[in-house]
Symmetry: C2
Subunit: 394 residues, 2 copies
């Protein structure tokens, strides 16, 4: 099982490091000139821009530069090459429409890696990167709306095992402050490789997704706890990198330090059936390494583009059938092209087949696919929206 | 009074836009080669570095660039010019030691403005800028220590006057979650021009300053509420920019929307004598424009590098003497060189003289000077540390 996991990790993390790309098209549609600033631009910045088709247009001021490139674009050219205009600014448009949702990117200016000064930054690929948002047809579910809003609370919890105070963010639903007799279930939600504890609320909009679901009466209110999964100590692709990954340091932080702190400082329901763990990409693999081995603690398991749960996995895990109330597995449809859970060369384990086999074996599970998206945050936003209403219903 | 305020604002904001600089010295000390990564570097990044004397050393990879400059350094050269090494990286050391504490900066690469990919970014000058921390002799008071920690909670509160949900951060002290019968005073704390609601907790470490003061028994625990002061709608220096600044939109958000929301969702002491308002630089001027005219709401007033309170100001404010329990005014010593509250050419109002006159007139006030710092966050960290213990003692 260890080897299988390692193989799957390689694939998932390689995908997470690849720049966001669309499937190359033989004839991209003609560009419609209705470009508007991306919603993630810094205040007052007019570039980058996006149009109604999903094209992105970039403009960078660097009058004395020799070459400026954007890491985002179509696969064939490794990004979008900008060209210099008479005013000294560099401009370029993606060769085709980009997938809906959030994309990380960066610039290469005369051989150096920099962020686009026009946009906000988001932590990914072990550094703060530029972000752009391609308006999605279903963007309403994570929009800031006139509904009651929960909070995102930064806590600093003591961690004797790592010798410091560690940071986590806790989403508390609307009403938590006033319903002082109520206690709440908790979802521990992990980011992917290269990211950190800021990802799910910054680029994931986990708080707005929950606010909107709760306002619509579609989910039970619960807390979400997001902390750094200590994922970035390994360098995927480096020899021996993956083999050296050890889940134990993070498992200690999570099980022995963070969970007791949260249960001690929030009005939680602290029994097994009111605690869930889920994660995206490498956070999904962490979930799979920790939760099934601690079924006295977790009743719900979510793997978002982070591997699958097979009948064999269940078989080797005592009590899985009775204790796990739901196994949620999701992918972006682009990740499944070819019927696999990753890009070509990935593991031979078909997540749809695994889900069907679990169902046939009477194991409660849901398999969700985000249409038209890949190993990116739009897949995970949708996955959270799909998963949240299924949690803590037993 | 309006004209006087406008003149003072011009000076304060001009200072806030100027790059951080040390006073030029005729003979900077010889550089000691004990450079270490700045504490604000991104994970794993070894540059920029700082040494024990306060020199900063920068290294940027941009092999094909023609010129790379850092906006931080000594005044005469407008920053630190980097030189290219044989490996294609650009390196340079500040010409002299920089002031203790936090500095904003950015790069100029072939005529374009970019952030240093080595550091974290902080919102200042209306954009996310690079930050560097020169270790201060008194850094302990805002260090992350093994003491009980409060929270920094992001709230989204409804704002009918601006037609959206607005963001604020609320510091809640350790114990707030457990002492469910206790109610707390509130300080409304404003950032400066070019900054936003993230400044006081990110670069200001307001939460850690409070955690440490509370752990030492030096201050009464209270809440701090930080929201965007709508300061950046004006462009200081632009013709008519300052004259067009209107405090009313922010005053409406603060008084009619945010304060009622906080009093409705937190266990506050909501009477006048348990509410304070303070701000740095332009946030101080906002405080002076709002609080004295609403003494039914505020009992404590703090101006941090943001103007002074004169006997004339008090005279034209009915009830000031009785209702204002404390007026706190602070500056960095570099701001006072020449005995003025700003750089040469600034207003003729001497803050020390004003403070002495208030004292002579029996108006309770404290005048605080941060030694060896200018119009920068080290001054304001120290000011908060000095002010907090004086609040809510009546």
């Amino acid at each position: 099982m260890k080897l299988l996991l390692a193989a799957a990790l390689t694939v998932t993390m390689a995908a997470s490091m690849a720049p966001a790309q669309t499937t190359p098209q033989t004839a991209p549609p003609a560009v419609i000139e209705d470009f508007r600033p991306s919603s993630l631009n810094q205040p007052g910045q007019s570039y980058p821009q996006v149009n109604s088709q999903g094209y992105a247009r970039f403009r960078i001021t660097a009058p004395d530069a020799k070459a400026v490139k954007v890491s985002l674009g179509l696969g064939g050219r490794g990004g979008t090459v900008l060209t210099k205009g008479p005013d000294g600014s560099w401009t370029g448009t993606s060769e085709g429409p980009l997938d809906e949702g959030f994309h990380y990117y960066h610039l290469t200016v005369d051989g150096g890696t920099f962020n686009d000064p026009g946009t906000l930054n988001f932590y990914g690929s072990t550094r703060w990167e530029s972000g752009i948002e391609i308006p999605a047809h279903d963007a309403d579910f994570y929009a800031l709306k006139d509904v009651p809003h929960g909070r995102v609370e930064q806590i600093l919890f003591p961690s004797p095992s790592t010798g410091t105070s560690r940071r986590a963010f806790v989403y508390t639903p609307p009403g938590y402050d006033r319903n002082t007799r109520d206690r709440y279930p908790v979802l521990y939600l992990q980011h992917g490789w290269g990211e950190d504890e800021t990802a799910w609320s910054n680029q994931g909009h986990a708080n707005l997704i929950m606010d909107n679901l709760i306002a619509a009466g579609k989910t039970r209110p619960f807390l979400i706890v997001m902390t750094y999964g200590m994922t970035n100590t390994i360098r995927p692709g480096a020899p021996g990198g993956l083999a050296s990954f050890d889940i134990r340091p993070f498992q200690t932080v999570l099980l022995d330090e963070l969970i007791p702190y949260v249960d001690g400082h929030y009005r939680t329901l602290s029994d097994q059936r009111h605690r869930a763990m889920a994660g995206l990409s490498m956070g999904g693999f962490e979930t799979k390494l920790i939760a099934p081995r601690h079924l006295d603690r977790f009743a719900y398991i979510g793997l978002l583009s982070g591997g699958t749960m097979s009948p064999e996995d269940v078989k080797v895990t005592p009590g899985y059938r009775d204790k796990v109330k739901l196994t949620f597995v999701s992918f972006g449809s682009r990740e499944l092209e070819g019927g696999r859970s990753g890009p070509p060369g990935g593991p031979r384990s078909d997540p749809r087949a695994n889900a069907a086999a679990l169902t046939a074996a009477g194991i409660r599970n849901v398999f969700y696919v985000s249409e038209g998206t890949g190993h990116e945050f739009q897949t995970w936003r949708r996955s959270l929206q799909a998963m949240a209403p299924l949690l803590f219903r037993d």
